[in-house]
Amino acid sequence: MAELRVRVNGADHLLDIPPQVSLLDALREHLGLTGTKKGCDQGACGACTVLADGERINACLALAVQYADREITTIEGIDHPIQEAFVRHDGFQCGYCTSGQICSAIGMLAEHKDGMPSAVTGEPSAEGEELTDEEIRERMSGNLCRCGAYHGIVEAIGEVAR
């Protein structure tokens, strides 16, 4: 078993784990960073969303070895206005999906800034348009909320985006 160096929230860690360990399990079970949640473990809910070099990914389908040279950011490493906006707008109830929602929203705002279109974006000329609620809902569709706090989530993100 080879030692794996992972970089999480600005710190390097050496892990003695076999290649079948997902990034999600490496974070939760081996580094004690339990802020990132496991909902489905199959890419279907978004609870495990973290940032890899600022890009949002599902840590449950990521093998830790594949992300060894990437800068991983989890909810424990985030200090962003979106967090207070979630509190102000009741963007959660039980909170289980929230760390994934926050990481996803931060990744989403960066994508939008870079001109990444979504399934509801029009022609390329329509770029630079503001994030409408419809855009936010589509771009955040990879994050489910079993409590149905979607209204608050969309409001919170909208407030920070605009």
Partner: protein, 331 residues
């Protein structure tokens, strides 16, 4: 998940040799399908050869005006590429209508082409499934068939191919470039996936050790006026019940070039040749669109209770063509 060893390949030659020399080795792209299938104990390779960081992540313009898309380009990067969005909007739209932003950031083009069916019984190791365990039977027959196909399926397997991207690519006549220790070959995407017939476990014409290195799109004038329309059980983040990729070029109200492909209804991305034949040279009217859809769906057959998909496909084809006619005849 069963134990396996992992190798990251620095170049194409090493990747291809590693899989060729190791009996139960597989290529690993973004892992969004393979890791899931390994965790469910449906796939169990002994060695994963990671090809996701090979230097095949460019989108380049070809001298003839076509586009060469590297196999490790992430789905999100493909959808955002300016040349893809302006010349082949249907490709960008198809990608953006699939999976979620997180998954698109991880998934590669090569992996997307080779993703496996989402048939519920294929995923349920307690059920018989000819694809997972040849000869064991097909639990979908007589079971839940909402996601089953209506064209090209067999008595051994009625599963559908789940990729959205492939539907757009097949409509445009994409060609897949493949590399192995035996050299390079080019395969039209229409010929990459096989129909199930008696061997649903054999899904493509690729050998185990053949690496997809690129997908090439020829210049398609009609593609500038193209669209992907996907019908599913919720507005986003769900596989297609039915999808349509279409491109139309019009001269007045005459269709001079038509491209049409269907998703969610067949074991492979389904190029609608019969419909294209009806459309090409005809007037762009509701009557023509109806005839085109009828010609393609002539051989469609319901499996269990999914007869609604035949009508849904017909309507989605007509609606997409109608939309493109309005857009294509704008000055």
């Amino acid at each position: 998940m069963r134990a396996f060893s992992y190798v990251s390949a620095p170049d194409v030659a090493t990747a291809v040799r590693a899989v060729s020399e190791t009996p139960n080795a597989k290529f690993l792209g973004g892992g969004t399908n393979l890791v899931d299938l390994m965790r469910e104990n449906i796939e169990h390779p002994d060695v994963l050869v990671d090809v996701s960081r090979l230097p095949l992540n460019g989108v380049e313009e070809l001298p003839d005006g076509g586009l060469r898309i590297g196999a490790t380009v992430r789905n999100s990067a493909l959808a955002a590429h300016p040349l893809v969005r302006t010349r082949y909007p249907v490709v960008s739209q198809a990608v953006l209508n699939g999976a979620s932003a997180q998954l698109r950031n991880m998934a590669t083009v090569g992996g997307n082409l080779l993703q496996r069916t989402r048939c519920l019984y294929f995923y349920d190791t307690a059920s018989p499934c000819n694809k997972r365990e040849p000869g064991s039977g097909c639990a979908a027959l007589g079971g839940f068939t909402r996601d089953a196909g209506i064209l090209g399926v067999s008595e051994r397997c009625v599963a559908t191919h789940p990729s959205d991207l492939c539907v757009a690519l097949v409509a445009l006549g994409a060609v897949v470039e493949v590399e192995s220790t035996r050299g390079t070959r080019r395969i039209p995407l229409t010929d990459l996936h096989r129909l199930p017939a008696d061997t649903p476990q054999r899904e493509t014409v690729l050998e185990r050790d053949e690496l997809i290195t690129a997908v090439e799109l020829p210049p398609v004038p009609a593609a500038a006026n193209s669209r992907y329309r996907k019908v599913r059980d919720r507005a986003s983040y769900a596989f297609a019940l039915v999808s349509v990729a279409a491109a139309l070029r019009l001269d007045g109200d005459t269709i001079t070039e038509a491209r049409l492909a269907l998703g969610g209804i067949a074991p492979k991305p389904w190029r609608a040749n019969e419909a294209e034949h009806v459309l090409t040279g005809a007037r762009a009217t509701e009557e023509t669109f109806d005839r085109a859809a009828a010609a393609e769906l002539d051989r469609a057959q319901a499996v269990g209770d999914n007869a609604f998909k035949i009508e849904l496909t017909r309507r989605t084809i007509v609606a997409t063509l109608r939309e493109l006619t309005h857009e294509g005849s704008r000055p």
